[in-house]
Amino acid sequence: MSIDEKIVADFVANRIEFVTTVPCKQLGGVIDQVERSPQIHHVPSNKEDEGMGLCAGAFMGGKRAAIIMQNTALGVTGNTLATLIQFYRIPLPMLISYRGELGEPIACQVEMAVHTKALLAQLHIPTYHFHRQEDVGEFDKILKYTYMCNKPVAILTDASFWGGY
């Protein structure tokens, strides 16, 4: 099973039926798997705060929802995380490509990478960092943890995890 297939299988096993995505090169494979999954309603969004709104609505409609996004988007979702997801205590797995780490070819990505963990820590968002491929083995537990505590939970996935891109 590929990493992409494992991630989507864990989504399905944890009854996550609604996934919104904003693309990143590193996430292309997993987004394809989400789109192909008959158990998941995939709604691409134009911006990550919009995506979090969709997830909040889907969750209140009875469907567990997740967002797939890039770490740069933490810069535009702070208010939504604080005033919607956290304020109303909505569980939200955030599968995040951690751009700007080792292997990154684009210098500008580093500028948000250096703030990524600090922003997540400031927002008190439980954060996991997948660096080696075997780290995906924890994904299922992280999803269960998210629905246990009703919080947004970040899973940072770097270029080494994805095996370069």
């Binding site: 309603h41 709604v43 709104g53 909040a56 889907a58 209140m60 208010n79």
Partner: protein
């Protein structure tokens, strides 16, 4: 007519439906006029009423009315292509367009100037878009509710507010009460 007068007119139509209501005065006004477990009040997060409403409509069968404002739609314009391309025929987006940021002191929005949100919605691919004068909002909403077709309504009213207290209900209570109601209606 000002927004609160439009809300008073449409309350008999929306009272028995799931409503996602925009941040600030619109939620305070709806809460004051007709508080219901079927109302989800946004206490923050300007711009996301349409996104929350669409997510809710896509996730379950009951009709959903998102009450939005022109300023809020302008802050999340990317919502309109998402609405257009993810058709939920149980979804109505009602944009009460008073051409101003009402909750912050009636500063003018671009929707009150050159920008037509109805035209933007159509250009984004929304198939059923109606722009009406404030006094015709109830009729447009009635038609949309009977039509079983995803509809964007732009209701043009004048700016102006009534003085109301903020909603004191805890957000988790609002959410829990709303989710129980959604579940009850879908069971």
């Amino acid at each position: 007519m000002i927004r609160s007068e439009v809300l008073r007119e449409i309350v008999p139509l929306i009272s028995d439906h799931l409503v996602v209501c925009n941040i600030g005065l619109p939620s305070q006004e709806l809460h004051h006029i007709d508080d219901q477990p079927s109302n989800f009040y946004m206490l923050g997060t300007m711009g996301l009423a349409s996104s929350i409403g669409l997510g809710l409509a896509l996730a379950q069968k009951e009709k959903v009315i998102a009450i939005d404002g022109d300023g809020s739609v302008l802050t999340n314009l990317g919502t309109l292509p998402t609405v257009a391309n993810n058709v939920a025929d149980n979804f109505i987006l009602l944009i009460i367009d008073n051409g101003s940021y009402g909750s912050t002191g009636d500063q003018p929005t671009y929707a009150g100037k050159k920008t037509s949100l109805a035209a933007v919605a159509r250009a984004c691919g929304c198939e059923t878009v109606v722009e009406v004068a404030a006094k015709d909002t109830a009729q447009a909403l009635k038609t949309a509710l009977e039509g079983d077709k995803m509809t964007v309504i732009v209701s043009k009213c004048i700016s102006g507010n009534i003085k109301l207290p903020v909603i004191a209900m805890d957000p988790v209570v609002i959410r829990d009460r709303f989710m129980r109601e959604v579940q009850r209606r879908n069971s």
